[in-house]
Symmetry: C2
Subunit: 192 residues, 2 copies
Amino acid sequence: MDLRNYLTDIVSFPTEELEDIISYFEKEAIQKNNSLVKEGQVCSKLYLVEKGVGRSYYLKEDGKEITQWFFVEGQFMSSIESFFQQNPSLYYLEMLEDSVVYSITRENLDLLFARYHNMEKLGRLLSTEMLTRVVNKLNAIQFQTARERYDYMLNEYPDIVNRVALGHIASYLGMTQETLSRIRKAEIRKRS
Amino acid sequence: MDLRNYLTDIVSFPTEELEDIISYFEKEAIQKNNSLVKEGQVCSKLYLVEKGVGRSYYLKEDGKEITQWFFVEGQFMSSIESFFQQNPSLYYLEMLEDSVVYSITRENLDLLFARYHNMEKLGRLLSTEMLTRVVNKLNAIQFQTARERYDYMLNEYPDIVNRVALGHIASYLGMTQETLSRIRKAEIRKRS
DNA sequence: TATATTTTTTGATATAGGTCAAAAGAAACT
DNA sequence: AGTTTCTTTTGACCTATATCAAAAAATATA
């Protein structure tokens, strides 16, 4: 899958619109553990992951890293609030594997939103999709036990569980590493 | 504030576009405790609250009501996933005071999105705004103590605290009614 | 392939907030 | 105004998950 496919999967663009739009994206290779954005910086770009996994995270007062979101192939990645409001990011963005991403700046994206009705539609559809995903996570976090949250993760993101550190998943799910380790142990026992 | 103002506050529409758009909305008066949508129904309309407060909630297996979101004057209200995906709603929508709302059907909204680029933009901006709000709530719920969450509520929605039942606020914040009652008691003591 | 570093597991203990039950207070209805 | 119903508060007790500390396992580096 390349950029063209990811976009046309959402909205069908006339060829010349699509080519113009694509010309504003840049392809970047990012090495494992490299940051795209650091806390305090304004996030000036929106990324689309072609290959690899990324995450957004922040530091609690005690210095612990809290993973806020994971981004896999085909997903748009950004420090959303910083990108849209152009204020300093509360989050770090980093890639957890050697990755390839496409990026577009806020200015160019705005330009494309204004130029093409279809692009505006794509923006709207992506936001509502993201919104649904965040609402789902909120419900999982708010009303499920630690074990149920891990099951939710296995269902929604089976892939990620095997690609990233347990500590990252634990903080993403709002529990400690130790708790997740114990849950996993119990699940293995249950299945055999 | 009327519908016209709520819309032009977000995007500036040429007069005749605005009048056309507005003609697709219907004004409805809803009595306290009346539902707009029940669990299992497809939510066919998007509402804008002119006067009153609404909430979305769902029932846990044990029958307890969990408030998912509050909607006050000027906010768009819907069972979002049901409205956009046109599948059965997991949530109830109800008004907690005698209210006046504007409504528009999914079909008409889609028609306006397709007809006016400006309308599509409004849709996109509303989704991103909502997205930011949900992300904020998620962070509050996931990493703050019960007391901190109540403080977050007092800041973000000072108004709501005095308009709706404590039990609704408690479940919205992911805690029991009893816990919220004790927190409130402690806060009062602290302030005097 | 040995050594250093990071990640995961395990154990012991502590605690925030849940549950259950009942009293007190407010609001709604006749 | 009195009665019923709904909401909030209070108390006693319990449990899921956090915290702290250290061992074991996996991974990276020299």
